[in-house]
Amino acid sequence: MKKLVTILFSLLFVLAATGFVFAGGDSEVSESAGAGNLAASLAVDVSVLKAADGQALIKLEGAERVVPARPADPSALPETDPLHWWDMEFAGEITNKTNIPESPADGAIGKKITMIVHGDHPWTTACTNGAQKVADVYSMDIKIQSPNWDLAVQNQMIDQAINERPDMILLIPLDAKTALQQARKINKSGIPLLLFNMLPEAAAMDYAIGWTGPDDFGQMRKLSHIFADALGKKGGVAYVQHAPGGSPYFARCFGPISELAGYAPDIKVLDKQAPGFEADKTMQLVSDWLTRFGDDLTGIFASDDSAQALGIIEALKKVGREDVIVVAAGNSKVGMDLVKDGGLYAITYQTAEGDGALAVKTAADWFNGKEIPAITNIPQHMITKADVDSFYPPQW
């Protein structure tokens, strides 16, 4: 019996010792593999990647912006004052980062990331294509999920992602306010979070390693200058708004309104309405505007260069009012065709592929131990008839 116990203990000791040896060896292998991964990951060059439109997939030139000092109480300022929108436009510029995980700094190659977008749309398809291209060059395992514009489903997807423990969650928040709860929950689970594309409420930024996406306000301010110049800085304009809830609803209407109040104060705001993204509904709205305002309506600023822009152009054509200046956000094929035909005066270059690509590239940078800025924007450019040809074929 004594012999048996001795043999058993000896066996256990041998097993444990072997385990320690292997564990130690493994740790050495891990460290060396981690160093190798980091070196290989840092060597990846994404600047050679191209989007479907032939433009560089990731380009940061033209994305810089000047951040003015925050007023004591932006909401006390009138809506026509650009600083009224400071908290929304510069959300994330002042943050109090909370419980942000340390970067493992062991390279991005082979990392598992979950990307949760807002909903199914051709734009989203292009965006996720861009994300996939970058994930592929880093050999990252990317899982893309879409709640199809349903906030409850997006919340479920977040819970599921937390259970699956990926190395990072990348999220387009469906609703600016709910984003705070979503970000807190992910942060609490210890999984690093990167927000992108849609601006959340400023407090949500505290729980994310960063935010990437378009500077929607900035783009709209630039577009509004082109718009005002084409109008001779006078006339009456109407705004076709984005869907309520997200940041574009404010940025693509109050961005230009507040900018034009300073740049072209003689331009009057006649009306602003959110008919959704259906060409027929927008057409009806613009036809009614033409009846209501007649020749006083000289310009239309649209939130979408696709269905909304088509509806606007059809309504104008019906009554022979092709003198009305129309600008729109986005660069879909429909929008670019309309710019080429002369129906749309200008649109914004808003790379959908680049948006998704930049988010994954930022995730890779974090895994590589690089410092992540609170905000990283995609580049801005205004497309007019003069250069529209260089953006074909369209991304979506």
Partner: protein, 352 residues
Amino acid sequence: MENNKLSETTKEEIKQIDSRATSVNLFGRVMHYAGIYAVALMFLLAGIVLQSLGIINNFLTTQNMVNILDAVSMLGIVAVGMAFVTYSGQFADLSVPTTMALTGIVAVQMLQYGFLPAIIAAVLAGLLIGLINAVAIGKYKANPIIWTLAVNYVTLGVIRLVWVNKQIYPDMIAKTQRASDLFDAIYRLRFFNKIALPLILLIILVVFLNFIMKKTKYGMQLKITGSAQKAAKFTGINTEKIIGITFIICALTATLAGLTITSLSRVGAWYNGTGYDFKAVTAIVIGGMTLAGGRGSIIGVLGGVLIIGLMNNIMTLLGVGTFSQDMIRGFIFILVVGINAKSLRSMGRDDA
């Protein structure tokens, strides 16, 4: 003697009850004779009064009236087809949005073979969905709401799977400029430079479908089926066939609307047609067609469609904001349907 006395009292009471039951206000009488068009006329008059008071401009102009008709023509095409489903007692066809999307995207895809093959393919795709609904609901008595909702999701999945969540463009798919131009013209062709093709299609459909519903043997059998399906079956009517045909009619009108909306938006995409199911049901109910089936008319549904167009137009001319418009629209719908129902019931009819 006592019996006679009792009888006289009862007669008096019955008289009083009858008098209460049949006391009809002016609105009720107008509704009885003019139907939902009385309400449409009221909206029209409201617009004229607002214009004469200088509150809105250019309401009563040819261009504005054409705009209103243009705006509701696609909804009208869907609603008059779906009205058959409602009339048959099957409530609504919720597969309409994806039928519109599928037929549109199939047409765009088939434009590579020319305009006519594209249209034929779209009609066949619509017919296929109609037949599936017809068999499942007509023959196998599937719940129409659950079934058509399921078909809507399945079709949506098929579109997304086949076209990988992308939208496709007629001018990029068509091999010839002529095919692309013809497809573009489905929405944009205008007669006398004013009247759009979808509006002409709507008028033709209203005349034709109203004739089918009111003047044919099928229409009579449909009315009986919609009013009392079991009784209709006992009288020897093939209710399965009658109900099945309504889903085919609905799918075909949805195909027309799908082609029109795809031509307007110049993209074949899964989201074309979104929301048209509930918009059509709203127009049908406002038009006085009861969801229980067997009552109402195509002409009434057209009235419901016109009311929606007039209401949207007046509110935008008044400068009412988007959110307030939704609220007012909902409130007016409740009011119109409620008053209509009350007036008709007080006249001894339960059409609403």
